[in-house]
């Protein structure tokens, strides 16, 4: 898909999520802005605690208590009308968290799978029960009335029956590769392995044919071979289902494998965005560079892993200027600790938030001058 005719699906603008806790205010998400396009796989990467999960939950309008959310989240919903397709913009941030509108989007248009497959299924309900529950909320079948061939677009729809929902459950379990789906549908969570439970979670999320699947570290809790299977499964399902994926992880290897485009987050905001190849071959932000430097390359002889210097700053007391400056290897005293870096498109399609590229492209002379003067 070329850059120009990409259709936006979810647009996040200047998102802030704050938690007022006893020790002060945690800025879990601090001005994040990004767009997820239809059909793409967007990787979100960043250290633990940088606000990835909270961003994902904000998109679902599920920020946990006592979080307060500001900013705009727009969902571009495709609606079919008499004369073809139209797009409606839904402002998710303005919806009540228990309103019917958001509940239709949640699980219907946007599915989510979580970090903890072991405990994401209600222990007293069978695998099938969960899928049936989702299917009965979000799956509709057209009601055929005689003589409606001319008005196919305005056919009535009805919810699925119990039997149909069960069929959907078995079918979904088959599609996510669970062996013996006809009997597994009645298995309880404790009778399934971690990988199988994550497959069930995927089946639940995909049962409604969502436009977007948010996968929040779906393989972190699984061992490597299962991880590979789950990633294969997600890629395979995406190919058949014209669905965007927002893939959250802190694992660079995983993200390189699955994402088309990557957003790098640091302390609640994005610091770099580029397509996967660019980001890996030509990282611009010092944080991204050090992240990439921290994975060992095969054949490379290094005595120890390069780690990012310093600690993640306290979320209550964010540094002035660029939040990364206490740990940055290219820190410019007098500038980075004073000036707040804006997010700029420094190369075509490659966005960076860093004062090294302040108003200029990195390959220009000025940038070189700035670099040398440090």
């Amino acid at each position: 898909m070329s850059e120009e005719n990409r259709q936006p699906l979810v647009k996040v603008q200047d998102l802030h999520v704050e938690f007022d806790v006893r020790d002060g205010i945690v800025h879990a998400v601090d001005g994040a802005s990004f767009t997820i396009y239809r059909g793409q796989t967007l990787g979100i990467i960043g250290e633990s605690g940088c606000g990835k999960s909270i961003t994902a939950k904000a998109i679902m309008k599920m920020v946990p208590k006592p979080g307060i959310m500001r900013g705009e989240i727009t969902f571009f919903e495709k609606t079919s009308q008499n004369d073809g397709e139209a797009t409606e913009e839904v402002r998710i941030d303005r919806l009540h968290p228990d309103s019917q509108r958001i509940r239709k989007i949640r699980g219907g248009n946007i599915g989510m799978i979580f970090q903890e497959p072991m405990s994401s299924l209600t222990p007293v309900f069978s695998a099938g029960f969960h899928i049936i529950e989702a299917a009965k909320l979000h799956r509709f079948v057209p009601v055929n009335t005689i003589g409606d061939t001319m008005t196919r677009n305005i056919k009535d729809k009805r919810g699925v029956t119990d039997d149909e929902a069960r069929e959907i459950a078995v079918d979904m379990l088959r599609r996510v590769g669970l062996p013996n789906p006809e009997s597994r549908v009645d298995s309880f969570p404790h009778q399934l392995s971690g990988g199988q439970r994550q497959r069930v979670m995927i089946a639940i999320a995909l049962s409604a044919h969502p436009d977007l699947l948010i996968a929040d570290e779906p393989t972190t809790a699984l061992d490597v071979s299962i991880e590979a299977q789950i990633l294969d499964l997600m890629r395979e399902l995406q190919d058949t289902a014209d669905m965007a994926i927002m893939f959250i992880t802190h694992n660079l290897g995983v993200i390189a494998e699955i994402a088309d485009e990557i957003v790098v987050m640091y302390m609640g905001k994005e610091v770099e965005r580029a397509n996967t190849i660019d980001l890996f071959e030509n990282p611009q932000h010092p944080y991204t560079k050090s992240l990439l430097g921290s994975i060992p390359q095969i054949g490379e002889k290094r005595s120890e892993l390069e780690t990012i210097e310093g600690m993640v700053p306290s979320p209550f007391d964010l540094p002035q200027g660029c939040v990364f400056h206490p740990r940055c290897s290219e820190y410019m005293p007098g500038k980075c600790d004073k000036v707040y870096p804006e997010y700029d498109e420094v190369i075509e399609g490659h966005w960076v938030r860093c004062l090294l590229y302040d108003g200029c492209r990195p390959d220009t002379q000025e940038a070189q001058v700035i670099k040398e003067s440090v």
Binding site: M60, M62, K104, R106, G107, Q115, L121, I204
Partner: protein, 328 residues
């Protein structure tokens, strides 16, 4: 499942034999026996026939025989439904049970229904609206409820009812219904009395149960499967009742079994004594005080039986509602 049941019943039987034996030892430990004391007492009141009459009992129940023989006599009659004689009431223990047990069961059931009907909704409310004004109020009240001993509450209720409201709340029946045959009027009279001990029992029970329900539910609400259920698009209400409460209530089922069954025989004994209810509690206490050995022994064995039935029922119920639990 079947082997589980057989095993449990087998253990229960062993347990019952041990308990009955130990309680029999304890009951006959104090020097002298009830008989000697009672004869002296009755004779001093001018009851000339007491000695010969009670002497017959002594022979019939083998009170002059060695200890083991006494025990054997009692327990072998026990399994046939002859629990021995209450020397105090000069009636078979079985007759006393027949009078009192139905009332005790009614009281226990009423109390439990009251308790659950109040505790579960309040507990759920408190957890869902954690730290809200309502939660704070219920939390404070429930701590007070847990803190005040129930007999004190009974005394206060008695005082208010009798002195301030001029209501007859002692016992379970008014005087004119005491020995009357069962009728609708008598049932109504029973209900008019029953609410007091039931309410006191429920307040004590509710307070504790609210705390447990609130705590469990808060734990459950923090679980990932709750977030996952919400992410599926379920209504908040459905998430709470179908997924959270359904999980959080499991421990209460155990409490229901292990506490309610024994409570039929020995629930709020102090409250029952204060309100002088014609239930099992006061009978038991009195029997212990007066060394009325067959009555005390019978009640003790029945309490043990209830504890074991309760635990078994709790286990079965829990296995029924929670697929993770397997009985084998």
């Amino acid at each position: 499942m079947l082997s589980f049941l057989i095993r449990r019943v087998f253990y229960a039987l062993i347990m019952l034999v041990v308990v009955s034996f130990v309680s029999f030892i304890i009951i006959s430990l104090p020097p002298g026996d009830y008989m000697t004391q009672r004869i002296r007492e009755l004779e001093s009141m001018g009851d000339k026939s007491a000695e010969t009459r009670l002497e017959q009992y002594r022979i019939r129940y083998g009170l002059e025989k060695p200890f083991l023989t006494q025990y054997w006599l009692w327990i072998s009659n026990f399994v046939q439904g002859d629990f021995g004689l209450s020397f105090e009431y000069e009636q078979p223990v079985a007759t006393l049970l027949k009078q009192r047990l139905p009332l005790s069961v009614t009281l226990a059931v009423t109390t439990t229904v009251f308790t659950w009907a109040m505790a579960i909704p309040i507990g759920v409310f408190s957890a869902v609206k954690q730290y809200s004004l309502g939660d704070q109020i219920f939390t404070t009240l429930s701590f007070i409820g847990v803190g005040i001993p129930s007999f004190l509450m009974a005394l206060v209720v008695l005082y208010i009812a009798i002195v301030k409201l001029d209501q007859d709340v002692i016992g379970l029946f008014s005087r004119n219904f005491q020995d009357a045959p069962w009728s609708l009027a008598k049932v109504w009279d029973l209900l008019k009395h029953m609410w007091v001990p039931a309410l006191i029992g429920a307040i004590t029970g509710t307070s504790g149960t609210i705390r447990i329900m609130r705590g469990n539910l808060l734990d459950t609400l923090g679980q990932p499967f709750i977030e996952a259920a919400r992410a599926r698009g379920l209504k908040n209400r459905t998430v709470i009742w179908r997924h959270a409460v359904r999980m959080a209530i499991n421990p209460l089922i155990v409490i229901l079994g292990t506490e309610t069954f024994p409570a039929i025989l020995a629930g709020n004994i102090l409250v029952e004594v204060v309100l002088s209810l014609p239930t099992m509690g006061p009978l038991y206490i009195r029997a212990l005080l007066t060394q009325d050995m067959f009555t005390a022994g019978t009640v003790l064995v029945l309490i043990t039986l209830m504890v074991m039935i309760g635990a078994l029922v709790a286990d079965l119920a829990l296995a029924w509602v929670d697929p993770r639990i397997r009985l084998d």
